[in-house]
Amino acid sequence: MESPSPDWLVYVYAITEAPVPLGSGGIDLAPIRWISEGSLSAAVSDVPMDEFDEAPLNELIRDMAWLGPRAVAHQEVNLRLHESAQALIPLAFGTVFRHDERVRALLRNEASALAGRLETVRGSAEWVVALHLLAEPDAAAVERQSPALHALRGEIEAAPPGRAHLLRRRLAELERDEGRRVQAEAAGQVLERLRGVTRAVFAEPLPQDTVERPLLRASVLVARDKEDAFLDETERLRVTWREPTYRVLLTGPWPPYRFGGLNADG
C-alpha cells in the first residue's frame, strides 16, 4: 500500500529484520504499516504534511505541547517493537519520507550498514547513566585525593613567614585546580566502571551553563541477559559517588536509539 495522497508523508519509527504485529497505532493513532525490502522491514505510519513537512516540523518541535504526545507515541511504538524483536534500529523522532519508495530505497541502498547496526544492538537495551555534582567536594575530601596539595601544605607549615605567604597564594590556585581534577576523574572512573558491565559506552556531549551540573552523561548498551550485573554496579556507583556531593541518575531500559544510530566506530 502506498501512502494515500500528496497531503501525507511517511513517518518511519524503526527498522527491524521482519514485521512484528503491533496491536495499536502510532502518531495520531494512525495504523502502523510495514515496508519491506530484502531482509529489512521498516515500521511506518502516515502523517499529515502540514505538520511533518520540514518547515512546519522544525517549528512545531519547539512546542512541547505538540511534541509531547507525538514523542510518546514514537517511543511507545519502539518500546513494543523492542519487546518483541531481538534486533531493532529505533530512528530519531521526525524521520520522514515523501513516498514508500524512498523508504524502500533506503533499505536497499543502506542494507549492509543497517544490518551491521542491527548486529551491534542485537539482544541489548540502552540506558543512560548521569553523574551530577550537587556541591563542591569539601577541601578535606579534595586533599585526601591530592598528594600535591598535601605536599604544599607541609611546605607552608615548614616555611619562614615571607615564603609561606607566597606559597599560600599558590595554595588557593592549587586547591581550585585539584578540585577540578578530582571532579574530572570522577567522570572517568564512572565510565571505566560502566565499561566493565556493558557492551558499549558513549559519553554524551555535556550541556553548558545548566543549573544542574552533570559531570557525565553516558549512554550505555547492555545485553538483556546482563542487566542484573549492570544494575548491581549502578547501585555500587551510587554508594561511591553519593549525596550530598554527587548524584548518580539512571534511566532505561530504552530501545537503542543512540547505539542503533551510531556508526560502528562511533
Binding site: 517511543q75 524521520t95 544510530g261
Partner: protein, 84 residues
Amino acid sequence: MAEGFVSLSAPRDDELSLLELADRLLYRGVVVSGEATISVAGVDLIYLGLNVVLTAVSNLKKPPATGQLPVNSDATPPPGDIFG
C-alpha cells in the same frame, strides 16, 4: 506521563521526563544517513529547552534563555536530497 514508557525494572527514584524522552529521540546522531530524510533541524535547542525548564522548576539563579533559539544548521540535509 512518565509511567507510560518506563519499564518497571528501572529504579523508582530515577528521573524520566518528557525532556529526557525528547533528548533521547531528537539526538542528531541517530538520523539514518542524511539522504532522503527530513532531519529535525533544531536538535540542540532541546538542551536549551531543558535548561530553561530546569531553571523554572528550580527557581535558581540563571535567567531563562530568551530570543531566537539556535538552529543546528548542519543537521539539515540539502533540500535536493529530501524529496528528490
